[in-house]
């Protein structure tokens, strides 16, 4: 067993509250979003990633299943997993994340019993404050395709 090209291990920590497989999912999604891994890039095998990141095989398997359900990766039987070939994958993932944050925002507002108009007002205030603290960015830049 010569040591194969060792996969760079992911940054997983036991002090993080999220379960291990969730940490793997988030990190791989982040790598795809940041275009570290371009579409079609072959992911390390489940056993290889488990060994180098020192987690159990089943945890990585669970993470890969979640990633596949989320459409981030595609798994071809017997040949391992690759980053999904979907166009604009990073942008699509960001939009899904935005959607998730909006849902959480609404749930929280419901608990506070806020009306939608009140919510709009708070949003505009936050946007104004945000504009002063950050230099105006040209909306068209956005994340790279």
């Amino acid at each position: 067993m010569h040591s194969m090209p060792v996969t760079t291990p992911l940054f997983l920590s036991t002090s993080d509250a999220r379960p291990m497989y969730q940490q793997i999912v988030d990190q791989i999604t982040a790598k795809v979003m940041a275009a570290d891994w371009l579409p079609g890039h072959a992911l390390p095998s489940i056993r290889e990633l488990a060994a180098s990141s020192r987690v159990s095989v089943i945890t990585v398997k669970r993470a890969y299943e979640d990633l596949e359900r989320a459409g981030v990766i595609e798994t071809r039987h017997g040949k391992g997993s690759v980053v999904a070939e979907r166009t604009e994958l990073p942008r699509a993932l960001l939009e899904e994340e935005l959607g998730r944050h909006l849902a959480a925002l609404l749930a929280c507002a419901a608990r506070l019993g806020l009306a939608h108009t009140e919510l709009h007002r708070l949003l505009d205030q936050a946007a104004a404050r945000d504009a002063q603290s950050r230099p105006p960015i040209n909306p068209s830049e956005g994340p790279l395709p």
Binding site: M1, A17, R47, S52, R54, V55, V57, I58
Partner: protein, 294 residues
């Protein structure tokens, strides 16, 4: 899927302790964490697997050999390191490596040297001068360097400093690369098991409380904090493992989490505030306290 070992209906009676009706299987290529308090029967189980003890009832099959008759053939492919095992104090680690190399044809000298470097051990040093951590790592080295197909480790990380513990876990992770090799390691340091094990078996007072794959197992348990007028009978629900009240706040530890549970709790007058996953340690303590099968 061939099994690394299969225990079916095992019983072993001692004057003050009985291991009863244990059935357990470890598929090849997996790591199983054996969790249990001291005296739960972990050591007896490991001794059954290495054929050092004969079961009073049931059958033990390890790597295709029925034990204890086939113990010699099986032990050629088993790496067994236990807490109560000591090396020869008067001899050096190198002497022990030579002894093992001559007994096991599968000894991999290069891997042994790499482990010596990674474990920061000095082969020429006499074992009497080793610290507890060095002794545990030396024993593990002697097991790992011959690449056995089944590793049986009794509390491999107990009493180790964090650095040594990480080195041991890294060495165990190496085993993952070969899908023909399997590991059973018992520990009451549940963090290691949570990190490395594929399946978990709970042993308590000689009985197997649970044995399931880790992710599914962890997924079933939740800690729910809710607010409401009173408990009114929720504590008795079968899926609730433990319930504690503090004024109007209630903490429920759920054994079988279902998506519809928050709705049913609301119906019972309890508003769910937060739902968190539970660490294995918490699960283990709750299970032992609750006493029913997990």
């Amino acid at each position: 899927m061939t099994a690394a070992f299969t225990l079916s209906g095992i019983a072993k009676r001692y004057p003050h302790f009985t291991l009863q009706d244990v059935s357990l299987q470890l598929p090849e290529g997996q790591i199983m964490g054996l969790v249990g308090v001291n005296g739960a029967g972990k050591t007896t189980l490991l001794r059954l697997l290495t054929g050092l003890v004969r079961a009073d009832a049931g059958a033990v099959e390890v790597l295709g050999q029925c034990m204890p008759e086939g113990q010699v053939a099986a032990k050629r492919e088993i790496g067994f390191a236990s807490e109560d095992m000591r090396l020869y104090r008067g001899q050096s680690l190198h002497w022990h490596m030579e002894l093992i190399r001559r007994i096991y044809p599968g000894w991999d000298a290069a891997y042994a040297a790499e482990l010596v470097r990674r474990f920061d051990l000095r082969p020429q040093q006499i074992v009497a001068g080793f610290s507890h951590g060095q002794r545990v790592k030396a024993l593990l080295l002697l097991c790992l360097a011959r690449r056995p197909r089944l590793l049986l480790l009794d509390e491999p990380t107990t009493g180790l400093d964090p650095v040594a513990r990480l080195e041991v876990l890294e060495a165990l992770a190496d085993v993952l690369r070969d899908e023909r090799r399997s590991v059973l390691f018992s520990s009451h340091n549940t963090q290691d098991i949570e990190q490395l094990a594929d399946s978990i078996s709970f042993l308590h007072q000689g009985r197997l409380l649970a044995s399931a794959d880790k992710e599914a197992f962890l997924d079933r348990w939740r800690r729910v904090v809710c607010q409401g007028a009173g408990m009114n009978g929720v504590a008795a629900w079968p899926e609730i493992a433990s319930a504690r009240a503090n004024g109007s706040l209630f903490e429920l530890k759920v054994r079988h989490w279902e998506a519809d549970l928050p709705a049913r709790l609301n119906a019972a007058g309890l508003a769910v505030q937060r739902v968190d996953p539970m660490a294995l340690e918490d699960i283990f303590v709750t299970t032992v306290r609750a006493g029913e099968p997990a």
